[in-house]
Amino acid sequence: MGVLLIAEVNSGTLSVDATAKALTAAKQIGDVTVLCVGSGCSDAAQAAAKLDGVSKVLCAQDDAYGHDLAEPVADLIISLSSDYTHIVAPSTSASKNILPRVAALLDVMIISEVTAVVDADTFERPIYAGNAIQTVKSSDIIKVATIRTSTFEAANEGGMANVESIDACANPGLSEWIEDKVAASDRPELTSAGIVVSGGRGVGSEDDFKIIEGLADKLGAAVGASRAAVDSGYAPNDWQVGQTGKVVAPDLYVAVGISGAIQHLAGMKDSKIIVAINKDEEAPIFQVADFGLVADLFDAVPKLTEQIA
């Protein structure tokens, strides 16, 4: 018995950061088997086998698994579930879609966004946008959980696990992939970036978001946005940082024109250093910022971009 960790695989490539962080949580529970699922995932499986603390890697390749469709992937996980006490995955849009379905099929509760493993049955998770932390003890036979990656360090490389190919399950054929629209970007991925520069409603328009992007590019940072900025159409939703967007914990978080609503703080307050630039000195963001600058962002951000070597 042990833990089945569902790896994050995108277009056949292992998302090492997310998977290695969830692995750190999984190792605290027991012996870890990693499952890689995709239309082609042998490279991802080889990469997962190199992570320290992985005992075995299962690789399920099938065209039906190419796009993280919930129904076929959930059925595959169910077919393997009897060998494990825990089924976990890094909390990503794919796992948030699939694992609650798996849990209900097993008649167990999902434990979403785990931020700490207390013991094999007991976990901490944030509720109310992180304004409270709940410790829950599961009485279910199998624990199904998503792991909030921002609170765990990534496991190192150094493993040499065996990779075993496994058969696909029948596809229930309830859904069909049509297309992905993924913005091509040279910037680092938001949830694993060392630096994040985010803009809020104060930025004022989609065009003016370019000054946020300019600062981000100078810093080699990912670009984020508050829900208000996304809501106003200044930034795409996959940039959203907050309770209903992504949760990040970079070394440096620069919040520009962001007031600091509770739901935004939920997504970034574990960042190591927070910088806030806002013209409203009463903005709540200053209550969590290590360095606050009360200034007009249209003046301060270009200057900052220029002065950073």
Binding site: D68, P100, E179, D180, Q307
Partner: protein
């Protein structure tokens, strides 16, 4: 086609939550409660389907305490045709787990036979993001989560989903469970005449027991605590000073 819309009564998103001193949970007595914001988007979409002639009836359903009547009246005032309240607890502090809610909704689906369920992607209280997916599992239906565009074409729904890297478009077989994301629409406000009319719309009450669902929680809440507070730092006077400080701490 009937549309079923589950709505949850949650603490209003503007209210600052307080953890109870005994660590048993969050204080919900005498605080403003509202419909979960994502559920408002689901109700709006259901009404739009009806207005577009793609749905005949919009049924709002809520699981929880007697006071959820207010939440259902809000849905009716927005334009839902009738409502079902499933009472699963008498204590406003008891959060019915998504698995139990999904089982109750499954029982309602067996009676009402909707062609589509539109649900919020996440409740802003327990932040579980699970009920829709669990309901899809229990019904054996397809699921379309985090949806920002929805088109119904015959026996299928074509949806655009908000995923980590951008957008994904998929086609799902009807009947289906859709969970809605922020950008699907902007919910309408209920007008005063519609609020008055809503008082006369049918609102049925049932209990979880009548539907044969055991709502005993699977997750025992051992404790609830305040997160570690982050201390405010310093204000800097200029961009130059900011750059200097960032260099001092090695952040740039």
């Amino acid at each position: 086609m009937k549309v079923l819309v589950p709505v949850k009564r949650v603490i209003d998103y503007n209210v600052k939550v307080r953890v109870k001193a005994d660590g048993s949970g969050v204080d919900l007595a005498n605080v403003k409660m509202s419909m979960n914001p994502f559920d408002e988007i689901a109700v709006e979409q259901a009404i739009r389907l009806k207005e577009a002639g793609q749905a005949d009836e919009v049924i709002a359903v809520s699981v929880g305490v007697k006071q959820n009547q207010e939440t259902l009246r809000t849905a009716l005032a927005m334009g839902a045709d009738r409502a079902i309240l499933v009472i699963a607890t008498e204590d406003v502090h008891t959060d019915i787990e998504p698995l139990a809610v999904a089982k109750i909704l499954k029982a309602v689906i067996d009676e009402e036979k909707p062609g589509i369920v539109l649900a919020g992607k996440q409740a802003i209280d327990n932040d579980m993001n699970a009920t829709g997916q669990m309901l899809a599992a229990l019904t054996g239906w397809s699921q379309a989560t985090f949806v920002s565009e929805l088109t119904i074409e015959g026996d299928n729904a074509v949806v655009t989903r908000e995923v980590d890297g951008g957008l994904q478009t998929i086609k799902v077989t009807m009947p289906t469970i859709v969970t809605v994301d922020l950008r699907l629409n902007e919910p309408r406000y209920a007008s005063l005449p519609n609020i008055m009319k809503a008082k006369k719309k049918p609102l049925d009450e049932k209990s979880a027991a009548e539907l044969g669902v055991d709502v005993t929680p699977r997750l025992k809440i051992a404790s609830t605590s305040e997160p570690e507070a982050r201390l405010a730092g310093i204000k800097v006077g200029s961009v130059e000073e900011l750059v200097e400080k960032l260099k001092e701490v090695g952040a740039v």
